[in-house]
Symmetry: C2
């Protein structure tokens, strides 16, 4: 990667850290430039507007998330569903270790703060959530095909439910000062209640 | 209520609307004063800092929420659990009708944006969430006492799960442009999967 790519990546990674530890509104372009040690002209060369930076941060997290979900392994779909919960817990544990607390989901934080403020950013976040949900849905459909879901449980609705639960549980951990381990635990509970008795 | 109380209440109600339709960071004290038609000196008389206003807005929503939850009726605990989902859906439908779209949960929005930025506000929001969760837990314990929860379902964990789900589902509706009706529907699904077969 050339020097220009290095600079862009440094801006994105620095911003990802700043946004997670604070909020979009409380991080200025000046803050980013100071923390990433780049000039403002250079920043605006890569990101004409602050919202363009937010989109790049969303893309960075999306790639990391999808990689993590794809790595969720297990011999059965039920095990892989629990692997998905572990993947989410693992990502949160990583943030917790970096920041000393649960700081929320990078997508959820931006979605809550900006969905009513910036429509193109909202669309970008909606696409990221949709990719995430499709990742969950693959495993939920495998569970349906293996016959381990409870009677009446629709795999697509379960995928949506898992995503909603993930978002809400991370938010409650952030505001309540709970640990990343707690987040994974309640996701495991949610998965278990949707599986037939004895499914592993 | 005297004129002073009127002014304070007008500031709080106006701010509640502005915060829901935008974000904390994008609404300035100037915006609030202009929309509520009060002078800045008057604003700071009631709210020494913008965070004090946010707390008052949280209190306004907490009172409305608890009143709504208390009104959730039904002959059986299962019916009252579904009534809780309807109460949440009803509040969201009210916001949807006011703003023309799902704008998020007033608690969740502030919690996502400010939990890492302002610790006293985070504590205030954590207390509001705890009161909400206790409201859910009362009905979940009644369901446990009536024997309608599935084997192994703990009523306190179910209350927490319902709150997490509510938060996440509202957020997904906000970012995905879904309706308040969709929010209530997935809460009903979540309740059903925790009830024994045939429980009504």
């Amino acid at each position: 990667m050339g020097r220009s790519g290095d600079t862009r990546e440094r801006i994105v990674r620095t911003s990802a850290r700043l946004l997670l530890s604070r909020s979009y509104g409380s991080v200025s372009v000046d803050d980013v430039c100071a923390a990433a040690d780049v000039r403002k002209g250079s920043f605006y060369h890569f990101f004409p507007a602050k919202a363009d930076l937010a989109k790049a941060v969303v893309d960075l997290h999306t790639d990391a998330l999808l990689e993590r979900l794809a790595a969720a392994s297990g011999d059965t779909a039920a095990q892989r569903l629990h692997g998905v919960a572990d993947a989410v817990g693992g990502i949160q544990a990583g943030f917790e270790s970096t920041f000393g607390r649960v700081v929320g989901c990078p997508f959820g934080n931006l979605a809550a703060e900006l969905s009513t403020v910036d429509d193109t950013l909202r669309d970008h976040l909606a696409s990221a959530f949709a990719r995430w949900e499709r990742g969950f849905a693959v495993t939920c459909h495998q569970a349906a095909d293996e016959g381990v879901l409870r009677e009446g449980v629709d795999p697509d609705r379960l995928a949506h439910s898992l995503l909603a639960h993930t978002q809400g549980r991370i938010l409650l951990a952030k505001v309540g000062g709970h640990s990343a381990t707690d987040v994974a635990a309640t996701l495991h509970d949610l998965i278990d209640v949707h599986l037939r008795e004895g499914a592993v």
